[in-house]
């Protein structure tokens, strides 16, 4: 009998796949069901954000960040606006800061709901997708009430906000938040003690703390492995230092721990929003600096200077000093940072988007080493990637 040989199977999980959460291509090398190697191929959503942002003024660039990480839109806007404000050396008024914080935390809840729904439907818990999107619709209603748009808001401005909150915002948010613990308890009751869920996620896609740090992972991927690093606590920004909240940590670094971390983060976000709503100060929502923010409309009738400022700001834009800054926020996926280099003109020289999902996805081959094919879907869902963030 001739020599029996073995060969491995190379399987392509193509860019169009129901469970890859976007246009991600994976080349799996399999020996039976066991994965020997995974190679993610990305770039199928590369949009050229960074180059596009070099050709626009700082104000015009506000439209781009929500389209990069389209699930946590307010957090993206907050990151960009904070970076430009840092470059200019200004801070937004306190009321604007608190409103930004409330909307960012609502974005975080909305994003984690999408994670929960899609992670569940990947494992065939089809009803949870409906429940989570139903809750997300209520958050999107609040966003629409504030900014006019469900997703790509364009509400934050350099130096504050576009306009003040509408009446009834606080009551609306309170009413939504009253129901959140009951709903989260329902979803946890469906999943956490569910034998199938536990067997499919416990011990699966394990990433040790050492590996997580070596691959530059942040966010729930890093915290699920036990490393306590949250940008809101480490480098407080935007008023987070004024509120008390906990940062949940996992122990094993498996998919189940990341699920627990995200569920608890939703509850903590609710806690932050309630504190912020109680302490919402009055005052202006846009900084008074005429070189940065547009003057109020009623001044245009009276003051020629205001008209000139308006004209200069709209046509040429703001002129930050030459220099470079890095400002980071905690997005639901990890550390989202903007590194902006300016040369003193009205356009940035370089806008670098430090994306959380790009680094987190690098750790996927480590997570799937000697896993099985069924674990691939669980692993991708547990990293919670957004391909717009990966490819930019």
């Amino acid at each position: 009998m001739s020599q029996l040989t073995k060969e491995t199977l190379v399987l392509n999980m193509g860019p169009q796949h129901p469970a890859t959460h976007g246009v991600l291509r994976l080349i799996l090398e399999l020996e039976g069901e066991v994965i020997l190697g995974v190679e993610p191929v990305i770039g199928y959503l590369h949009t050229g954000f960074e180059k596009e942002m070099e050709t626009r003024t700082y104000h015009q660039n506000i439209v781009f960040p929500p389209r990069i990480e389209y699930l946590a839109t307010f957090i993206e806007e907050q990151a960009y606006v904070l970076a430009v404000e840092k470059l200019l050396g200004i801070t937004a008024p306190k009321r604007a800061e608190v409103i930004r914080l409330i909307l960012a935390e609502l974005s975080r809840i909305a994003s984690h709901l999408v994670y929960l729904g899609t992670a569940a439907i990947d494992l065939n818990v089809t009803s949870l997708l409906m429940y989570c999107f139903r809750d997300r619709e209520e958050i999107l209603d609040i966003f629409e009430m504030v900014s006019g748009q469900r997703m790509m808001h364009g509400y934050f401005r350099i130096g504050g906000l576009q306009w003040d909150l509408p009446e009834g915002f606080a009551e609306r948010v309170q009413r939504f938040l009253e129901d959140v613990p009951r709903r989260l308890d329902e979803y946890e009751a469906l999943l956490t003690d569910n034998l199938i869920w536990r067997k499919r996620t416990e011990g699966v896609a394990v990433l040790s703390a050492e590996d997580a740090i070596r691959y530059g992972c942040t966010g729930p991927v890093l915290r699920g492995s036990g490393v306590s690093y949250d940008v809101r606590k480490a480098f407080p920004y935007g008023g987070y230092a004024d509120y008390s909240f906990d940062v949940p940590l996992g122990t094993n670094g498996d998919a189940f721990d990341r699920y627990r971390v995200r569920m608890e983060e939703m509850r903590q976000s609710r806690r932050i929003i309630l504190q912020a709503l109680q302490g919402l100060p009055g005052g202006p929502v846009l900084v008074d600096d005429r070189k940065v923010a547009l003057p109020p409309r009623r001044e245009l009738v009276r003051s020629m200077e205001a008209v000139i400022h308006q004209f200069k700001l709209v046509s040429e834009g703001i002129h930050p000093p030459a220099g470079e800054v890095y400002a980071a926020v905690e997005s639901p996926r990890g550390e989202k940072g903007y590194y902006i280099v300016s040369d003193g003109s009205n356009r940035p020289v370089r806008v670098r988007v430090r994306s959380a999902s790009f680094n987190n996805l690098q750790a996927l081959p480590v997570m799937l080493h000697r896993g099985t094919v069924g674990d691939v879907v669980v692993a991708i869902a547990s990293i919670d990637i957004v391909l717009g963030d990966v490819d930019r």
Binding site: T55, G323, V341, R354, N359
Partner: protein, 170 residues
């Protein structure tokens, strides 16, 4: 209390050829030959997380490229930025020996800027198609805008409409 960046400057000694301080952030400019040593020293000092590895094209200024490394220390929380100036055809040493997470970051820099990294295990394009020519984020690579079709008139594309002002207070 000495800041971690200042301790790092002391430890690196003459590898640091310059410092840029702006808005309470510090960027340490390191000589190209000593960058791996500097990164390793920073990592051993506590900056264990490689947050970002990117490049800036300063064309037509010389040296053309800046390769920027952003490192984070988790406990105590601190950021430090290391920068290397590279001429147009110079290569940089690869940081994959220190952090496996630098793999894709360096591939992205190669893809978008054309900077090669010595010692990288698999340097090829990551975001653009494999047979793409050119490096899009370079300043001499155009944005490739398609003008809107009107009859009898070709309007300006957005980057021609938005005025470019000269650098003020540079």
């Amino acid at each position: 209390m000495t800041r971690p960046e200042d301790v790092l400057v002391q430890r690196l000694g003459e590898a640091v050829v310059g410092q840029i301080r702006f808005r309470d952030e510090v960027t340490l400019v390191v000589a190209r030959e000593r960058i791996l040593q500097a990164l390793e020293a920073a990592r051993d000092m506590g900056f264990r997380l490689l947050t970002d590895l990117t490049a800036v094209d300063r064309h037509p200024a010389q040296p053309r490229f800046d390769v920027v490394y952003l490192l984070t220390s988790v406990e105590p929380p601190a950021w430090v930025r290391l920068m290397v100036h590279l001429a147009a055809d110079q290569t940089a040493p690869s940081a994959t020996s220190l952090w496996p997470g630098a793999n894709w970051l360096e591939r992205e820099v190669f893809d978008l800027f054309g900077i090669r990294f010595d010692g990288h295990p698999d340097l090829r394009r990551i975001l653009m198609p494999d047979d793409w020519e050119g490096h899009p984020l370079r300043k001499d690579y155009p944005l490739v805008e398609e003008p809107v079709e009107f009859r009898g008139h070709t309007p300006k594309v957005p980057s021609q409409i938005i005025p470019t002002s000269k650098p003020r207070h540079a």
